[in-house]
Structure formats: C-alpha cells, structure tokens
Symmetry: C2
Subunit: 242 residues, 2 copies
C-alpha cells in the first residue's frame, strides 16, 4: 500500500467529506468505523453500476472519477469526483443506485456500507446530521447544475466548468491555476450538454485568447478574471435576464 499516492493527487482524511463520520465520538468510544474496507479501482473500472450495488457509499481517497446517469436518451455525466468527494448517496432512495460511477484514473476508495452509517447514527447524532448535510449539499449542486444547463451559453458553460474545477482543487490545497483534466472532451460535453466539437472549439478559442494553456489533459489558467467576466456576462457578453 506504500505507493498508492503515486497515482496522482491524494487527500488526507481530514479533507474528506466523510471524515466527521470516521472521526465521530461514537467511533472513538468503540462503535464500528463506517469504512468497511479500502479498495483500489483501476482506470475504466466501475465503483458500482446502475441498478446494482444497493446501499453502498464510496469516499474517493485518490484518483478521479465520473458519475453518470443513463435514462434511455443517452448518457449524462452528473458530476466529476475529486479526492475527498463522496459517491453513491443517491442510493438511499430505494436501495439501488440509479447512476454509475467510473474511475477515470486509478483510484483508491473507502467503501462504506449504508447500514454502517445507520448503525453509527444510533450512537451519534452528529452522523445523522452530517449525512443530511452531505445530501443537502449534493442536492444544491444538482439544482445549480440544472440551472446552469438552463441558462448558460456554450462558452459560459466551459468557463464555469474550468472555474469550478479550479475552486475545488484549491479547496483541497492544490493549485487553482494548474491542474489535470483527466476526462476526455466527450465526457466534458456529456457533463455540460454540449458536443465534443463544441467543447473543443470553446477550449481552442480560450487558448487563442490566451486565457488558458492546454497541454495534453491539463489546464493552466492564465486569465482567471477573463473567464469570470465571461461567465458573469459583463462587458459586451450580455447576460440575458428573464
């Protein structure tokens, strides 16, 4: 287990959204840890599949993954997971996952059976509260994502996407201006509801304006403020209200 960190960015448990569970007073007093085991998942493998794997939550320790949903009209990438993020919280309703999660790089995850969180909830009110917080945050993000799809233009979506990743890496103590982009253009498009061609065009455009530099599957943000202005719709880039 010595070289797990080699596979890219990794977070300390302290930065993980699940840490309040692992480090609750109940666990300190002898209650079972929420984490059943740690598992390595190779790039391209699934954490869990849609319809299967009832009632398991995952915390991503290292690597990069995508959560996607197929409702019969094609695949939509619901969100990308960075180290410290949780996956599978949608399984509390009905006990089956409706989404699937795929590793985009080699990943290391903590496997948390849902029954353990419920068990833990009996000893620790903080656990219940924390689970509600996590779900509430993801709900807020999902609603915000829908609002984005509803109102932003293609360039704004791509700008928002880059700024989003920037902020999330910064939250974890990494650079906000230089980070990996391990997913392909297609996956970005499936996340932003754009075609691969449009994503490619927007990124090329940003690069031509020297707002970003784009080595192979990396981003270096050069004009953070320009991207923010585009997203806000400031100078001539009219922000269409309604």
């Amino acid at each position: 287990m010595a070289n797990l960190a080699d596979h890219g960015n990794q977070v300390a448990c302290a930065a993980c959204v699940m840490s309040p569970l692992c480090n609750s007073r109940a666990v300190a007093n002898g209650a079972p840890s929420p984490v059943e085991l740690r598992r390595r998942i190779a790039a391209g493998e699934r954490f869990y599949e849609a319809g299967s794997g009832r009632d398991t939550i995952f915390a991503l320790r290292a690597g990069f993954a995508q959560v996607s949903l197929d409702d019969g009209h094609g695949t939509h990438v619901v969100r990308f997971l960075l180290p410290g993020d949780a996956a599978g919280l949608d399984s509390f309703a009905g006990g089956a996952h409706r989404t699937e999660t795929i590793a985009l790089e080699d990943c290391e995850v903590c496997v948390i059976p849902a029954y353990r969180t419920e068990l833990l909830g009996r000893y620790s009110e903080a656990t219940c509260v924390r689970m509600r917080e996590l779900l509430s945050i993801q709900l807020a993000e999902a609603e915000s994502h829908a609002a984005m799809l509803a109102r932003l233009t293609a360039p704004q979506r791509v700008a928002r996407f880059l700024l989003d990743l920037s902020r999330r890496w910064a939250d974890r103590g990494y650079s906000s201006t230089h980070y990996k982009l391990p997913m392909g253009r297609r996956a970005i498009g499936q996340h932003l509801a754009l075609t691969t061609e449009t994503v490619s065009r927007m990124l090329s455009d940003f690069q031509a304006k020297s707002w970003v530099d784009l080595p192979w599957r990396e981003v270096r943000i050069l004009g953070m403020e320009k991207l923010r202005e585009l997203l806000a719709g400031t100078p001539e880039g009219k922000a269409h209200q309604q």
Copy 2:
C-alpha cells in the same frame, strides 16, 4: 379552518412525504411533533426567500407552489410542488435557503423547524432514515431533471412535463388524465429551459394532434401513449443516442 379544502386538491396526512415523522413511535411516546404550526399562504406569497429563513422545512398540505433558483443569470424553476410534497430540504447545507418557494395558488403548509427533526432524530432512528430518503429522492430527481435538460428536445420536454404531472397526481389518488395547470407558460418555460413562445407552440401542436385538450389552465390528456412514444422517441422521432 373548516373550508381550507375548498382551495383545490388536498391530501390526507397519510399521503404526505413527512408522515413517517409525524407518526413516528417517538411522537406517539410523547416526543414533540415535528410540525410547529400550520399556515395558510396566499397565491403569490412566499414560503421562504432565498438567503433567509434558515433551517425551516415545509410540507404542502393543499395548493400548488414552485421552487425556484436565481443564480444571477435568470430564474430557473427547480420543481413544482403538489400537495404532499416537501420544500426547503436544501437548507441543511449552511442553514440558509438558496432557493425560494412561491405559492401559485392559495396554500396550506405544515411548518417544520429543522431543529425539531434533529430533536426527533435523537429518539427515533426512523426519522433520520426518512430524512435521508427524502433528500436522496430529491437528489435523484434533480439529477434526472438535469439529464432531461441535457438530452431532450423541446417537444419531448413538454411531453415529459405533462406525463410527470399526470403520474404525480395519480400517485395522490387523483385523475391522471385531467388536472389543473396552475402555473403560467413562462413558469413552465423556466422549468424546462424553453421560452414561453416555444412552450405555447408545443402545447398548441399537441392540441392540434388531439393528444391533449387545453382549457384555461387545465390539461386533459387524450393520447397518453402518443406522448410516451414522443418522449421515448419511437417511430420516426429518432432518439439520439451518444
């Protein structure tokens, strides 16, 4: 309080998503009820405003409302509330509502302070589990909504919208083919990410095909199967995969 039911459809507590809380064993044994009070809210009034009203949940007993989100690029209607639905669950993260909820008809709501659910959670594990379920369901719906915006055409969105309301009314024991449509075309558009003109055109088109009849702010579905086919993209209405 005698004629509250006059304002339209109403659900018995048994059909309310919050009923497992109100009827938990803990409450039967003397724990405080989650409902602080019942309140009437006139059409056009707000349940709560964005940024304000920290930590209050609402259960809609009678009437019709919309939950909307403004992120600086315009308003997006996140969902419509039918009797028995809950509002305000997004406030668990951070304690402030990011959305606002407006009554579209005169409403009657149960006001549930979040601290009471936490209090109740101490006595009753079922309460914790139920809150998780509710959040998980709303998360699943929000993700599904985003996927819809990402992949469906305008006619498909409107068809899905009509079928969705049909199913939800049916779940509550009302007609699945004839129901009120209390919101305006603009609000429908803000929910489906379409303009009022497009919503109007799609509805007119459905009516011309005799798939629906549209009296003033009502729907009568005549060709449920046709709408389903359109949504699924069956005969010539190609379902674009990716």
